[in-house]
Amino acid sequence: MRPEQQGIEVAVLVSVGRHPITGRTRRADQDARGLELALGLERQVPGSRVSLLHAGPRSEESEAALRGYLGMAAGAGMAAGAGMGLETLTLLEQAEGSDAIPALVEHLAAAPPQLVITGARAERGEGSGLLPYALAERLGWPLVNGLAAVEKVENGVATLLQALPRGQRRRLKVRLPAIVSVDAAAPAARQSAFGPARRAGLEVGRVAAEPDLALAEWQLAPARKRPKRLKIIKAASARDRFKAAAAKVEGGNGQVLEGVSAEQGAEAIFKLLKEEGILR
């Protein structure tokens, strides 16, 4: 560690999650990974401070879920967790159905942190995964998705490791302030402890509620599993199977149609569906 390195301010955006089987509220998996990443920064950038930010309605259920993040202050080897500012969470209280983005933008712009960490996609609500992009656009900050690690922060430039498919990593240099989003490639979140979660405080700030007009027009229905293309295993040997599992996706069979009419395009799609046996 170089002595001239100063700690940075990190804001972690956390949402109320939803358990995939029972639908109970919980700390959202990706957001918790984001917080884990932030807490791990103490090692790379000593003196960093983490603040938690949530915009949404306040209820007993959502509070219990949000406290799940606060319980991570006491994790393994994290004596300094409490020193990193995890005693409180800032809750921007909004009525149900309000748009979180303007509230978050206003709050972040008022006292800009150097780094904003967020999960890639919420577990309830729209779950469109657009929030980090909308924030980045409005704040005019760079955005890095699929973050795996923050390697170092020097002179206002962070060296980040971005996760790509199939275990590949890409090293990026980003000027701070920046927004990063994490998905399942980030380190798994530590256990949340009951005691610190119960003791921590919620700082509630009311913000002007802008109704989410887009959401109001939507119809919500329980999600269905997406159909998966049937996988026909052609490999005859273990070597072939390994190659098939480890190889990059090769888009050899694809066909790009350019400058065709709607009829021709529809014809091509129709033909493909027939080939695949989806239409008979």
Partner: protein, 662 residues
């Protein structure tokens, strides 16, 4: 000269002992307050000592006789000595009694010495090795200095040198027996032990004059309402004062060490060392002076603690390492064996509570299991709506439909496990054959909270327990029957404190009752030799050793008992969340247990617990098959003679079930 020196010596020793006692009491008082009926405890103490404690000591006849002679002789000799030599009541009757008492003590001390010649590994050495000599010095010198008092020898016999030697020996003896008793010598166990028995944190575990055997095994609840109350034990001073007193009572006999499955498996736990570490922490210092077997793989002298310092460090070492605490299977073998009635398991769970609730540091799969329990009400993270899938074809009556039944069949989390589903199906078959009116909660049932509680997550336990109690309150039933001893224990012994009081039966107990009431008939046993493995949570936790054996006998099975069976049964390794925290050792506990089975030559081991089934069946190349008693019973069912059949209305049900058997 003796007449002048003896009273001085005696009263000096007594005064020093009193100062030591005051200091020792101050050490205990560092602990948290506890509600103890002091007076009633003191009144009950002699009975607890003479009956309950002696009952445990007497499992080793030779040692019990040795202790009766030595301790009885010492107590009598000490009292009489104060009268005769201290206060100068040189009456020949008292003197004669004193001679007899010190002689008895001397004989006892000879046996203590013999035991110390080649001490077994479980005994602590160090200062304990000098104890027989101290006992001899005391008894012999008291005996000799009493001879002139009763007139056997003239008062001025011998030379000054002889008298001085006698005084020196007596000073040594008094030093060990009186001074050492309260200043931390081996005799500390007598002082602390007596008070520990009086102020025990589980007064209900002792027998009473009305013939009650006394049993108290349920963990005590944390008060979660009070947000200022600490969650579990972080420092030695977080224990209650009578727990600290209990640690101080340890005689380091190592019976717990010999019984501990984790120690035998080479996992880093030794119950005796753990209790000694708590004593070290209470007084402050390092464990370097400990003279017994260490935690396997952890040399003595590397750990230290203080009364207000952490027991488990977040980083580095403190008094105890976390993996020591997580090695425990909560099988209670140590508590069962402890002649001083120390509650090891309570202490371990108290410390685990802090690690889980405050540190958020449950090892290995612990965090995942706890998260599952919170989100899905079962440790495996299965869909709670699929709890009854195994019984899709059984048409089990649901409590939600029938509202009341004689028997509520509690399924337990084994309902998600394919192996245990076979047991459950067998049990349902048996219940139907006996025409028992039963119903299940189905998807309304949740995990009992056993694993959460033993992993230290009291919050999740109380949440699960509260919701289960609310569900059970909606229905009417006579009793709960379950094939899971862990659910049995928690429902029967731990829900009471939270407001749920039920009559709970283990399925073997219930089957034995049904058989005794002639509601079941069995075909004769045609299989091979059988042994029975007592589940800890059925046997030691609930005292049920008889019913499973009665059922096996009714099946026509003659048991080849294992050497360690009944209250000495060795754990399968599946309790206390041990398979979840999975602390590495040199051997696996279930492997050792299957070796015990192998030694009996049995081809089949009968069990009565889903955990034991899973653990024992997981042993590679086992010599015996593992079957639950319910399965054995279901296989042996035959139709009852028609004359015995119950009410005609129910007969068809019984018939169809019985016909399936043929």
């Amino acid at each position: 000269m003796l007449e002048i020196l003896l009273p001085i010596l005696i009263f000096a020793a007594l005064a020093l002992a009193a100062i030591g006692a005051w200091r020792r009491i101050r050490l205990w008082r560092q602990g948290r307050p506890a509600e103890v009926d002091l007076l009633r405890g003191l009144v009950a103490m002699p009975r607890r000592y003479l009956v309950d404690l002696h009952h445990v000591v007497a499992r080793d006849k030779a040692m019990s006789n040795t202790h009766v002679a030595t301790a009885g002789g010492f107590v009598a000799a000490a009292m009489l000595m104060i009268l005769v030599h201290g206060l100068g009541l040189a009456n020949p009757v008292l003197g004669g009694l004193l001679l007899a008492a010190s002689a008895l003590m001397f004989v006892g001390s000879l046996f203590v010495a013999r035991r110390r010649r080649n001490p077994p590994a479980r005994l602590s050495k160090g200062p304990w090795m000098r104890l027989p000599k101290s006992l001899m010095a005391f008894s012999l010198s008291v005996f000799l200095s009493t001879l002139p008092t009763v007139g056997v020898l003239p008062a001025d016999v011998g030379s000054w040198i002889l008298a001085l030697a006698l005084v020196a020996a007596l000073a040594w003896g008094l030093g060990e027996m009186f001074f050492g008793m309260t200043w931390g010598g081996p005799m500390k166990h007598a002082f602390a032990g007596a008070l520990h028995l009086a102020f025990h944190r589980r007064p209900e575990r002792f027998s009473d004059k009305q013939g009650g055997t006394g049993r108290s095994t349920g963990l005590k609840a944390l008060n979660l309402e009070d947000t200022s109350a600490p969650l579990g034990v972080e420092t030695p001073s977080d224990f209650t004062w009578n727990q600290l007193l209990g640690f101080d009572a340890c005689v380091q006999c190592g019976r717990c060490e010999a019984a501990c499955p984790a120690f035998a498996a080479g996992q880093p736990l030794n119950p005796k060392k753990l209790i000694q570490d708590m004593v070290v922490g209470m007084a402050g210092g390092s464990d370097a002076a400990y003279a017994g077997s260490p935690y396997p793989g952890k040399p003595v002298g590397e750990h230290a603690g203080e009364p207000h310092g952490p027991i488990v460090a977040r980083q580095g070492t403190a008094l105890v390492d976390a993996e020591t605490l997580w090695s425990c299977t909560t099988c209670r073998a140590c508590v069962e064996e402890c002649p001083m009635m120390i509650e090891h398991v309570d202490a371990i769970v108290d410390m685990r509570r802090f690690l889980t609730l405050e540190h958020g540091n449950t090892p290995n799969k612990g965090a995942e299991v706890l998260d599952n329990l919170i989100a899905t009400d079962n440790p495996g993270g299965f869909d709670p709506g699929s709890r009854l899938h195994w019984a899709a074809d059984l048409n089990l009556p649901l409590m939600a439909d029938v509202k009341q039944a004689d028997v509520l069949l509690w399924l337990g989390d084994g309902a998600f496990d394919m192996r245990n589903q076979r047991t459950l199906r067998a049990l349902v078959k048996v219940l139907r054959a006996a025409e028992v009116e039963f119903a299940v909660l189905g998807n309304e049932e949740r995990d009992s909270g056993d694993v959460a509680r033993r992993l230290g997550d009291e919050a999740t336990f109380q949440s699960l327990a509260g919701r289960n109690i609310a569900t059970l309150a909606k229905y009417r039933f006579q009793r709960i029957v379950t094939c899971d001893p862990h659910s049995f224990h928690v429902l029967g012994n731990e829900y009471g404190e939270l407001g749920g009081n039920y009559e709970v039966r283990h399925h073997t107990t219930f089957i034995a009752e049904l058989y005794d009431a002639d509601r079941l008939a069995f075909a004769p046993w045609k299989g091979g030799t059988v042994t029975y493995h007592d589940p800890c949570y059925l046997g030691r936790y609930n005292g049920e050793y008889e019913a499973p054996r009665r059922v096996l006998e009714a099946l026509g099975i003659q048991l080849n008992e294992m050497e360690r069976s009944g209250f000495r049964s060795r754990c399968c390794g599946g309790g206390g969340g041990a398979p979840i925290t999975d602390i590495p050792g040199e051997r696996r506990i279930p492997d050792m247990r299957m070796n015990d089975v192998k030694e009996t030559g049995a081809e089949l081991v009968a069990v009565g617990c889903p955990q034991c089934t899973a653990m024992l069946e997981g042993v590679v190349d086992a010599s015996a098959e593992v079957r639950d008693i319910a399965e054995l019973v279901a296989d042996a069912l035959v139709a009852r003679p028609i004359a015995d059949a119950a009410s005609p209305a129910r007969r068809p049900v019984g018939k169809t079930t019985a016909e399936e058997v043929f």
